[in-house]
Symmetry: none
Subunit: 226 residues, 2 copies
C-alpha cells in the first residue's frame, strides 16, 4: 500500500490524519516541521505528502518549492492543508506546485477523498506518460515518435508537445489559454488563434486519426481516447 508523509506541527491534527490513513491501509510517516519534512521526504520517498502551510523551521510553501526542485522528490503529489481560503490561489499558483489543497478545518472524509483522488490521478497519468496507444494511434513520448496505422508521422516539436499534453489529459477539455501556458510556456504574448492553427496542422498530419481531437466550442480542445 502507498506510503504517505504527513507534515504538521499540531499533534492533534497529525494524529487525526494518521489514524484515518492507517485505517485505510496506508503506511504513514510524520514530520513536525519543514526541516524534518524535507529530510524524511528524501529518505522515505513517500507516494504522497500532506503538507500544512504553517509549520516551523521552513515554511510550507518553501518546503513545497524545495521538494519540487529536487529530482528525487519532484514527482511526488503534494496535498496542502491551509487555514485560509484566501491562500489557495498562492498555493496552487504557478511555481509552488501543490497538486491540491484542503482548507482547515477539514473533515477526515474529505481529506481521504482528496488523497485517494491524487493517488489515482497520478497512477493514471504516470503509467501512461511514456507510451500511449489509442486505436491505431501510438504516441511514444520518450522516443518522440508518433505512428498512425503503423506508419510513422513526423511532427514538429510544437505539434508533438501539443498532442502529448492533450493526450495526457485526455477526456478533459483544455482551454486555449491553458494550452498556451503548457505548450508554449508563456502566456499573453502569443495569440490564442495560434493554437487553432497548430490544431489544424495536427489534424492534417493525423489524417483519419484526427477524430481523437475534439473541438469544444467556446471552451477549447479535448483529446478523446475512444
Amino acid at each position: 500500500m502507498a506510503k504517505i508523509l504527513v507534515v504538521d506541527d499540531e499533534p492533534d491534527a497529525v494524529e487525526l490524519v494518521e489514524f484515518n490513513l492507517k485505517n485505510a491501509g496506508f503506511e504513514v510517516v510524520t514530520a513536525a516541521d519543514g526541516a524534518e519534512a524535507l529530510k524524511k521526504a528524501r529518505a522515505a520517498l513517500p507516494d504522497l505528502i500532506v503538507l500544512d502551510l504553517m509549520i516551523p523551521e521552513v515554511d510550507g510553501l518553501e518546503v513545497c518549492k524545495l521538494l519540487r526542485r529536487d529530482a528525487a522528490t519532484a514527482g511526488i503529489p503534494i496535498l496542502m492543508l491551509t487555514a485560509k481560503a484566501a491562500e489557495i490561489d498562492r498555493v496552487l499558483g504557478l511555481e509552488l506546485g501543490a497538486d491540491d489543497y484542503v482548507t482547515k478545518p477539514f473533515s477526515p472524509r474529505e481529506l481521504m477523498l482528496r488523497i485517494k483522488g491524487l493517488l489515482r490521478r497520478r497512477e493514471t497519468t504516470e503509467a501512461k506518460a511514456e507510451r500511449m496507444q489509442f486505436g491505431d494511434l501510438v504516441l511514444d513520448v520518450p522516443a518522440h515518435s508518433l505512428t498512425v496505422n503503423n506508419k510513422r508521422v513526423e511532427l514538429t516539436a510544437t505539434e508533438f508537445k501539443l498532442l502529448t499534453i492533450l493526450a495526457q489529459r485526455r477526456g478533459r477539455v483544455q482551454s486555449r489559454d491553458q494550452l498556451l501556458k503548457d505548450v508554449w510556456e508563456y502566456d499573453n504574448v502569443i495569440d490564442t488563434r495560434t493554437v487553432d492553427t497548430h490544431m489544424r496542422r495536427l489534424r492534417e498530419k493525423l489524417g483519419k486519426a484526427a477524430k481523437h481531437l475534439d473541438t469544444v466550442r467556446g471552451v477549447g480542445y479535448r483529446f478523446v481516447a475512444g
Copy 2:
C-alpha cells in the same frame, strides 16, 4: 437559510437541538429512527444532517453509509452524535463517512459551532465537485461532457455552465438574476427571459432527464437530484 435534518429517538434531545437551530434561523426537519431519516433525507434534501448513533430501525452508522451511497444525498455533511467517546474512531473512520462528531451530553453552543463549521466548510469546497451523477444523468465538469442514458449529449458552453451551476446547487432554487450573475457573469445587461430560453434548450436536449429541472414559479429554477 439552511435546512437541517435532526435524527434522534429521544424527544428531549431533538427538542433541544431543534430549539437552538430555529433560534439561529435554520429550517429544521426531524426524524426519530433510521428508516424515517433515510426517507426524509431524500425528500427534504437538507444542507446538513445531525445524526444520533443509537437509533431504532436502522442504526446510525448504517444510515450514514446508505446516505453516502445515494447520489442524491452523498454530498450532505453529517454530524454524528455519540454517547461514547470510544466510538469516535469508528464514526470518523474511513468508509462511514461522517464529517464531524459531538459526544453526548453536548453543550448547545458546541453543537452550533460544529454545525456552522461544517456548513462553512461545505460552501468553500462544494464548488470543486468534478463529476456528478443523478440516476442516468452524468455530468463530468472537467471533461465538459454530459451523458444521459449512457448516450452523449452535446451542450453549448452556456448550456453546460447553466446546468453545472444548477447541479452544484441542487435542491436550492436559483433566481434568474442569480443565474445571470453566475452563468453570464454580468448583470442587468441581459434580459432575464434569456434564462428561460436556455432552460428550454437544456430541457429539449436532456429529453427524459429534464425531470431534474424544476421551475419554481415566481422565483426561478432548481435542479432536483431525485
